[in-house]
Symmetry: C2
Subunit: 248 residues, 2 copies
Amino acid sequence: MSDPVTAALLVIGDEILSGRTKDKNIGYIAEYLTAIGIDLREVRVVPDIEAEIVTAIRVLKDRYSYLFTTGGIGPTHDDITADCVARACGVPIDHDPRAVAMLRERYVEGDLNEARLRMARIPAGAELIENPISKAPGFQIGNVIVMAGVPSIMQAMLDNVAPRLRTGVRMQVVTLDAGGLPEGIYGTALGEIARLHPGVSIGSYPSFTQGSFRNQIVLRAREAGLLALAEQDVMALLARLRADSAPI
Amino acid sequence: MSDPVTAALLVIGDEILSGRTKDKNIGYIAEYLTAIGIDLREVRVVPDIEAEIVTAIRVLKDRYSYLFTTGGIGPTHDDITADCVARACGVPIDHDPRAVAMLRERYVEGDLNEARLRMARIPAGAELIENPISKAPGFQIGNVIVMAGVPSIMQAMLDNVAPRLRTGVRMQVVTLDAGGLPEGIYGTALGEIARLHPGVSIGSYPSFTQGSFRNQIVLRAREAGLLALAEQDVMALLARLRADSAPI
């Protein structure tokens, strides 16, 4: 089996850290990458500070198959992502004629001012990622994929870039509802099952609504056979515990 | 003026990285800390892997005034946060009699089994954080604050621990609506204003709904006087641009 394809996500922006803007991209990208067979292994959120962004890009791009970034590619002074990526990758950055051409589709000559041209600053050697909504492109340089922070634009860019990406064997998932069984009742035995099935990742997830917990057990594996064996064991455990707890 | 009080947040859990669970804690904690005068400077999301969690705790606790964590303190085998915190802090961990007493409020003797007692494993020297909902406590050791991942429980724990925290001068915020003005029109001039007011953090935030952008300019500073001066300049800029773009 080939190595898993991994990714990190770097969310760039003071507004997420101040709580002013509630991020909607992490969950979307996590689900999207999982579905196409890329394992999201780490997320970081950093402020609009060059040193912080550059350091995070360097660490994450070296550690994972891909690094995705969101935010900081607009026309204002706090949009510094492209410059930070260029610096982290050690390449020059300048107005890219292909990106300028894209902006000309949206702006007439006189309106394409200095601020808007900022959105055409692209690190040397990058491939552009089209933006069907507002034209200013994202880009990919090496394994770093730079996207907008506005969710609808990010989503369009992700659709655009996804077909170019290397993907791995898709993780297969089984979700079992623990019904009314509390985690504390099955916790120890579930841990034993997890130890017996090292090729399967087993998690237990409580949610708390209307005054009571409802738990789900999630099994994840790349090999269907391994997954099925672990699933049998968990199903048998739940059946046994339900029988034990049923009124006589 | 005293140094700002800073924080990082470490979100622990495979389910966030797979997209199965959409995190609701980052935005809540960001807004909460901002409101009480603590600057959230970085967020990381890591999987349920001991080495990843321990490394992130070590790096983040040394770098910021506080490190908050969410997730991984339940009764199942994938709940390894408390053990990772103990390891990162270099202290032993065992069942804490105070935590066991809290669990006894919820579970009768026979129901307090091995799995549930796992939730009473607390690193030596930690202070407990009460959990009014399901009793299993969070804890604080040094500057590391460990909370549940279930949002309602995390929120109760944050209310519980907040009065103990050192807080700084609260960031003051002014939000100006750019009205119909596009970022590309005011971007360059806003950057000049940002350079003239180094004590004020100025951001421009587009949102894209119903086919058009709506922009807000947010000014943040700890000193009201500095904030007011920057606000005057931005207001004057917006008024000038609106007059320029008005039909004659």
